[in-house]
Amino acid sequence: MSLDDARVQRIAVLARIELAQDEIGPLGKELSGILDWIEQLQEVDTDAVEPMTGGADQSLRWRTDGVEDGGHAAKILANAPEAHEGFFGVPKVIE
């Protein structure tokens, strides 16, 4: 399967990755290679096989509802490029 430039560009937008014009071609080839490999995997007949969620026989762990976290706004905001009055500040995103 081969990905054209427009498709690569679209994936980059969805992933929020900025691509230089000369990166698109090579990246398209790499991604196509991955898809080829997936196609190869899909040749295996798995109709009678239950999908697995992991190698170990585990089940989802549940937590008792209770408050044991929060109350550290400063830590939450520590990496924010901008913070104002306890809020994250981001470029205006109004519809």
């Binding site: 937008v13 969805l14 929020r16 969620t53 992991g54 585990q58 089940s59 989802l60 762990r61 549940w62 937590r63 008792t64 509802d65 209770g66 408050v67 044991e68 976290d69 929060g70 109350g71 550290h72 706004a73 939450i76 905001l77 901008e82 104002h84 009055e85 306890g86 809020f87 994250f88 500040g89 981001v90 470029p91 205006k92 995103v93 109004i94 519809e95």
Partner: protein, 485 residues
Amino acid sequence: MSFIIKGETGDWETVIGLEVHAQVVSKSKLFSAAPTTFGAEPNTQVSFVDAGMPGMLPVINDVCVEYAVRTGLGLKARINNRSVFARKNYFYADLPQGYQISQFELPIVGEGTLILDMPDGESREVGIERLHLEQDAGKSIHDLHPDKTFIDLNRCGVALMEIVSKPDMRSPDEAGAYLRKLRSIVRYLETCDGNMDEGSMRCDANVSVRPVGSDELRTRCEIKNVNSVRFVMQAIEHEARRHVDVYEAGGDIAQETRLYDTSKSETRPMRSKEFAHDYRYFPDPDLLPLEFDDAYVEEIRSTLPELPDDKKERFMADYSLSAYDAGVLVVEKETAAYFEDVASGRDAKVVANWVISNLFGALNKKGLSISDSPVSALNLGKLIDLISDETISGRIAKEVFEVMVDEGKDPDAIVEEKGLRQITDTGPIEDAIVKVMEESPGKVEEYRGGKDKLIGWFVGQVMKQTGGKANPGMVNDLLRKKLAE
């Protein structure tokens, strides 16, 4: 109750499906132990899981699972003993993970039904498509800074139940009835507080139109995040009329997300084309499938309260109430309990009438809920007893009731204090009758000459003479006798 839009080219029917996001009443979030309290200082209710910090792992909250199942049972829906969490990927400033943990192919609750109680007493069934658990996003605030948007992550990760209906509704009234019924059910179940103004219940409406008689499903538009029942109904009506206008002008409707502008009463497109949805759902690798056995479900089922539909049927059967009265009384379980308190040992229809016509009116005027009612069930019961044992007349009872609403007092005390006890002795009533007859000999002549209708006027005058305290039945009887003499 049909809602048909008359167009230039013919009649149009509206097709409506609703998606309701109902916030689960839990102490902590769906996948983290941060609190869910409404209105806290910004970013103080956030764990590193909610903030999307690398390496943090989600762990599911048991109450959220229980309440989703509980709500599913309340909607008479299929419960899926195995469901899967998926990542719904999109980029937005208030979504630090870059994806919302939701459920896609395998939701925790499958198909169910909800009964609409229409204002005319009719019932209609609406299908529930599914209910799934998902995380809420944070909050963007646009008006605190001239060129910045402020982000508060407190709501991030709070558990929501997304409840999706089938496209079974045909009018704004039905959509309103659906929302009110759903709110009533979750409040009975105590799984969501149902407060639309605090955002703990939010509604997206999917709307399309089609010519009457057709069963096609045309392109729908989704109106996002409308925050009151009334606005949802208005938004649907405006959107349906817009579709008709577009089709009749020869145009086509594009599938899109729209916002309802309550100040302009119009819907307009929300997201620009470049944000065209491509959520790239896939099973969340951080979470194993959510599984439980039938015993777990049955244990939850055994704790369900009597729900509004069952209560309504019981009220109709046990108290001989009309569908409308029973429907109104069971909307809030507190109201239903109040009614039953008063109705015990009394004429239920009389009680229903007092609660619906008088008490609801008084509470509405004062903006109070039944739990804050100044008139207790005990006191309303006493008032009704005072009427039935003829201590006071129905008319005086309304006066007493007003004092009860304003002062919260016991009706016995009010009647004694104000000397409102009904006059049931023939003596004073006859005195009043004689007085009225003496003052208006002309009317007496007219009556005796065959103008029977004047009896009403005489009754009114006698009641006036007695300050409204005379027993109206006795006044009637005695008057007729005296006038016939």
